[in-house]
């Protein structure tokens, strides 16, 4: 199996789906000739031509609005928002139309599209290039939100997102784009949307995270397990919405302790929802309060100080130990 980084892995998934299905096409700013500013769509313009790899005018609402029309008329558009920080201009179309068409027409008209967007911090970028706003999208019924964490699951999930009958917001942790490589099978691989994955089994504490936080989480867990005789169960959420409650609840019933790690600001986010699900179905199994390791409820700092704000292995490890020792 070739070892690919996340950029190459998503590119592989897009390439294979474009080869499989001529309804699939790409649109966005610089996605064509340039191959995207992160090169995720590199080579696809040369391979599939400009009708399937569309360099659009520079207008995010226009990109999603026209993608909705394409999907209504039978295509499978994969729209790119160059950075998630510019995606809010298309929010009205996601909230107002993409997520509602199926329900509005009782399934007569549907909007199977993917909106890809790099998100998250720690790449020393300008303002608006560092936020994690998955909660904003996850709050829309009718829209799915997927966040891969590694090259292999990114490839398997982008394929699933393209084939999904509903709109999928596919948030790519840009910090992980080229951070590491992983073996990715050449042959087709699809993961089910709506399912989390237990990355490693354990009995003492459940750790829930997603996206770019998986790397610091795994490092913290590894260091801790070397230092102490504990086994941490690590869950990679993968699909933010609709959330896979069962995997979390069953794990917490087993371990009785839980820490949730998110890159986004603390309040009213995905970690809050994870804890609410635990309260609903596993409260009486808890032996300690569920702890959160998150960013703070502040405007995302510029890159000069952002690393102090994003959860790091040391903070994560402290939270695990406090929860274990409660």
């Amino acid at each position: 199996m070739p070892k690919l980084n996340m950029v190459q892995a998503i590119n592989l998934g897009l390439d294979q789906e474009m080869a499989n299905d001529e309804r699939v096409l790409l649109l966005g700013e610089d996605v064509g000739v340039d191959g995207g500013v992160f090169r995720v769509t590199d080579g696809l313009h040369a391979k599939y031509g400009e009708a399937r790899s569309i360099d659009t005018p520079l207008a995010e609402s226009g990109i999603l609005g026209t993608a909705i029309g394409m999907a209504l008329a039978g295509l499978r558009p994969v729209a790119e928002m160059q950075f998630s920080g510019f995606s809010y201009l298309m929010f009205a179309h996601l909230e107002g139309h993409a997520s509602r068409y199926r329900s509005r027409t009782q399934g007569q008209y549907t909007v199977p599209l993917v909106v890809r967007m790099p998100y998250g911090g720690a790449v020393r970028a300008l303002e608006h290039h560092s936020e994690s706003r998955e909660a904003s999208y996850a709050h829309l019924p009718g829209t799915k939100v997927v966040i891969p964490s590694s090259p292999r699951n990114a490839r398997a999930l982008i394929v699933a997102a393209i084939r999904d009958p509903d709109p999928v917001v596919f948030m790519e942790p840009k910090r992980s784009y080229r951070a590491f490589r992983e073996e990715v099978p050449e042959e087709e691989e699809v993961m089910e949307i709506g399912r989390s994955r237990i990355v490693q089994e354990g009995s003492d504490l459940t750790l829930v995270a997603w996206g770019a936080m998986m790397r610091p989480v795994l490092r913290a867990v590894e260091e801790l397990q070397e230092a102490r005789d504990v086994k941490i169960e690590v869950i990679d959420l993968l699909t933010i919405s609709p959330m896979d409650s069962n995997t979390i609840v069953e794990s917490v019933k087993k371990t009785g302790r839980c820490v949730v790690v998110q890159e986004a600001p603390k309040s009213l986010g995905v970690s809050s929802e994870v804890i609410a699900r635990i309260n609903d179905k596993a409260l009486l199994y808890l032996e300690a309060p569920v702890k959160r390791v998150t960013n703070y409820d502040v405007v995302t700092p510029y890159f000069g100080r952002e690393l102090d704000y994003i959860p790091n292995p040391a903070r994560i490890r402290r939270a695990i130990e406090e929860t274990l020792d409660f």
Partner: protein, 368 residues
């Protein structure tokens, strides 16, 4: 160095049938008697249904809606000109066009009484999207549909979208014309310039002399049309569609009309415009002039009018009766179509919803 003139632009206005019912023989489209009468009947059906819905709303039998009285020709002309493969991408004041596209009369009652079932046309073979309430957003969907039709190599297929003079201020309108222009996609944009966006007059939407000229910036065709002249609306849309089918790109049609009623039933125009202005506008409405035209052609008379009015009243009565007798509104419909496949969390919430509903009903029964 002297300034060089790079481009010169002009904007045309099309009228074929004037307020008095006089027709320009050179521009008059070649329509059969049957087609002309069909246009006349549909405008009347939409007008009468509009007025009936107004009464129903005042009696509390349906909810808020936006009447289309006075604007029937703006959407009917295009719908009449459209091919079976075209897409109707409406806003919310196109009742006449929607009826011509084959939407059952009952749908508007169901929709405006608060049930999503009013959006579905499962038996329709036409591409008729539901009402779009977010102003001008639908223009972008039309641009995307146009792209898809071109990409799929569909023949005689275009997207026809509607918005108002208020909508012409939205960014989505400009983005849609711009995208469709770049793509040379088969799209027709129809602005129903009815002079009022709720309380805001056309003069406060744009300093431009016409809305038609907004096409110039996008590099697409633009024309202003008498939107109360059904013949001009048919001809202008046909021209636009012919260009679209031939790969010559999108067209913007500014249809000059007037919103004779309130914005929606929740609005009171007395707050912001005069009765005199409305009375003047009534002189230009589309139906009376078209009746004069038909009468002059010997196609219409008082007895035919009487028979049509009776038939329309019965058609509307039947639709209202059928709507009011309907009881098949499934309480948990909203859980059926969140996603294409069921999800356990949503199913769990559905079960809770139904259980709560049963408990509420039991409580109500025991209280009574």
């Amino acid at each position: 160095m002297p300034l060089k003139k790079l481009e010169q632009f002009s904007v045309s206005h099309l009228q074929i049938l004037d307020e008095e019912g006089n027709v320009d023989r050179d521009l008059e489209p070649d329509l059969t008697e049957e087609q002309l009468i069909q246009l006349y009947r549909t405008m009347n059906l939409a007008r009468e249904h509009d007025q009936r819905m107004l009464k129903l709303q005042r009696q509390g039998r349906i909810g808020t809606f936006g009447p289309c009285t006075g604007q029937e020709a703006c959407s009917l002309g295009p719908a009449f000109a459209m091919s079976q493969s075209d897409w109707f991408v409406g806003a919310f004041r196109e009742l006449a066009g929607r009826l011509a596209m084959g939407e059952p009369l009952e749908n508007s009652l169901v929709f405006h009484n608060g049930f999503e079932e009013g959006n579905a046309n499962p038996d329709s073979k036409r591409n008729l999207l539901p009402i779009s309430i977010i102003v001008a957003s639908q223009c972008l969907h039309a641009a995307g549909i146009g792209y898809a039709l071109k990409y799929q190599g569909k023949k005689n297929a275009a997207a026809v979208t509607f918005l108002g003079d208020g909508g012409s201020s939205q960014g989505d309108f400009y983005e849609a014309m711009n995208f469709a222009g770049v793509w040379q996609a088969p799209v027709v944009f129809i602005v129903q310039n009815n002079q009022w966006a709720i309380s805001v007059p056309r003069s406060k939407q744009t300093h431009a002399a016409t809305i038609a000229q907004k096409a110039i910036a996008a590099g697409i065709h633009g024309i202003q049309v008498d939107g109360n002249d059904i013949l001009a609306m048919v001809v202008a849309t046909r021209d636009a569609l012919d260009r679209a089918y031939a790969g010559e790109g999108p067209t913007l049609i500014e249809a000059m009309t007037y919103r004779l009623m309130m914005h929606t039933t929740a609005d009171d125009p007395r707050k912001y415009r005069s009765e005199e202005e409305e009375q003047e506008a009534w002189k230009r409405e589309p139906i009376a002039r078209f009746r004069t035209y038909l009468e002059k052609k010997g196609m219409w008379d008082a007895s035919r009018q009487e028979a049509m009015e009776k038939e329309i009243k019965e058609t509307i009565d039947t639709a209202v009766r059928s709507f009011e007798e309907r009881t098949d509104f499934k309480p948990d419909l909203c859980f059926d179509h969140v996603f294409g496949t069921r999800h356990e969390e949503i199913e769990e919430q559905r079960a809770q919803f139904l259980a709560d509903r049963r408990l509420d009903a039991a409580k109500e029964a025991s209280d009574a």
